[in-house]
Subunit: 368 residues, 2 copies
């Protein structure tokens, strides 16, 4: 059938969903999960005051949202000690990542990331026709020296680093990241994804510095702030770099309830501290459950724990499958070397009770 | 200062906001508008049941939204008598338009639209490096024959038609649009923007037909459904064309409250009928107010009325300015020929009371 042709770049792309949602798995199996521990969400949710802000904002749902996202940017600027024109807001970090690639990496350009790093970033890189170069993890951490070497070798337009990291939960201390920042060539854009930053130990995040035009710090309300469904992420950077987003972003893309909720969330310091503590406690409990089953939990600076199942990817996959069949949704890395692990997000006590109850059977079943 | 280079396409783009929001005007003037009649929002808002659905959905804000938008797509499919794989959902029609351009029009490709048509579509066309070709309105309507001729002449990858139209509020009957659909070359994608479709007279929208791979029908929850702040629009089309969006869309882009609200909104038939009637009544009142001031309201199939101020663009601009100074936010077309008009959105009685009270002074002041 004669039809409009896709652009050459679009024609080469697969039809895909970077993450299959638990909803799709539930539809396929016909069974609802009883514990949702796979998407690195914060089961503790947003602060009560934030829920109230959302409910209040429904009264303004007839209005288009402020395309300049002015109040939220001002709030973020005050929070981080920067200026409002040093931050841009988008439809989650996913949306911001897509715009970064669109602005800075065109067809054939090189982009560097870690092998097994965030798939949605890779989706955007491929989606704009750029060339992805990957650097393996070393000892379950992103390889800073390797990333730098690849960046220089490929004359990369963009290098992506997540700190703390997903899917392993590992992290580098601020000094190492600061050295990395300083070593990235000034013509390469560093995307420093700190989605889990609020949950990391003190000393993990370098000080904010908006003087470098080649560094964007990415933050989100999806993790510690418990608002994954609202789609609100942001980038901090030097003003001219930030202004470039005005060339391409969907100006009305961030929904008005998300803007109102994010403004409220920034002010809830005590609640954030409580979430950080509850997250740490849940991580410790996940680790204990893993150890009780002969598995090895990896240290984590995030809201999930990667658990080394001690054998190959097929075995870890069987554990995941066993948990899914028993109502527990988790995910796992798929990259060789990392794929020996499963990845379990923090949850409420009841969620972890179920995980604790089902893991022995899942492991036993996988071992057959 | 050495910095990362923008891609050649991005480097040529201006930093812009396609629509300056009333919030920005308020910040600049230091005064809040007392009537917001410029953004073609539905001041009647969403149905009470929809507000309840939003409030319920805040409880799920900790969860990532379903990346397949399954329930909403199924609801829309049932509503339109199509299949779920014949509809895709995005961050407002704005978001969907951007993806359409990205998929089908690359650097140097030709795209056809009306001179004075929707600026955000043009923003996306330019944003992906495609070449915009415009066709003037005739008698305040989009020129179907002219659009077709330009499409053929330019071998356009995309042709954009809004029916009903913004900013003039004019429309073509379904038969004329159907002939247009049939005449568009099969290698050209027709973007038929029916954002105001629910508000148009019977006989304006051609029957939905998903057999043509080169037609996408764009709809939104921002207008008749009163949910402009939630950012939810969708495209209906042939399944393979719809599937192409899976190559490039931000799968988690549509916020979970927006998805829940949209699902609820589709079921509120009586409320929609009431909004349609209130919108028509408000249009009639705006027309009477215009006539009482010696101005000529144009017929409208939308939630706004274009008012011919009878002189040039400068005069109409002065009327707009006079209204703004008196607390009434409206907008106006800027394209020569259309710019003799102001554009006034429907509102509540109190909004139109203020418009009625302030228009005489604004006109008198503009005429000096």
């Amino acid at each position: 059938m004669i039809r409009p042709a896709l652009t050459p770049i679009a024609a080469r792309l697969p039809e895909t969903v970077p993450f299959v949602g638990p909803e799709a798995l539930e539809r396929a199996s016909g069974r609802a999960f009883r514990a949702r521990l796979g998407a690195n969400e914060s089961r503790f949710g947003p602060a009560p005051a934030v829920l109230n802000a959302m409910i209040q904002a429904t009264n303004d749902s007839w209005k288009y949202c402020d395309p300049e996202v002015f109040l939220l940017r001002q709030t973020l600027a005050d929070h981080h000690g920067i200026k409002a024109d040093e931050v841009t807001v988008g439809e989650g970090v996913d949306g911001v990542l897509g715009l970064c690639v669109r602005l800075f990496a065109g067809p054939g350009d090189s982009v560097v990331t870690s092998l097994g790093g965030y798939p949605t970033f890779n989706y955007h890189v491929t989606g704009f026709g750029a060339q992805l170069h990957t650097v393996p993890y070393i000892d379950d951490r992103e390889d800073l020296e390797g990333l730098l070497a690849a960046t220089r070798r490929q004359q990369a337009k963009i290098v992506y680093l997540a700190n703390p990291d997903n899917p392993m939960g590992s992290w580098w201390p601020a000094e190492a990241v600061q050295r990395f920042i300083e070593a990235v060539p000034p013509t390469t854009l560093l995307l420093l994804d700190e989605a889990y930053g609020e949950l990391a130990p003190a000393g993990t995040l370098p000080a904010i510095d908006t003087s470098r035009p080649n560094v964007l710090r990415l933050r989100t309300f999806s993790k510690a702030y418990g608002m994954a469904g609202l789609r609100c992420g942001y980038a901090i950077g030097e003003a001219t770099t930030i202004r470039a987003f005005e060339r391409v972003r969907n100006h009305f893309g961030v929904n008005n309830i998300a803007q109102a909720a994010a403004i409220a969330a920034i002010g809830e310091h005590a609640y954030l501290a409580e979430v950080v503590e509850r997250t740490a406690a849940a991580r410790r409990r996940i680790a204990r459950i893993a150890e009780a089953n002969g598995l090895v939990p990896l240290p984590s600076a995030t809201n999930f724990v990667a658990i080394d199942c001690g054998r190959d990817g097929a075995f870890a996959g069987a554990v995941l499958k066993g948990l899914a069949e028993r109502g527990v949704f988790i995910r796992k890395p798929m990259t060789p070397g990392l794929d020996r692990c499963i990845r379990v997000s923090v949850g409420l006590d009841a969620d972890l009770d179920l995980f604790e109850a089902m893991l022995p059977e899942a492991v036993q079943h996988a071992g057959r």
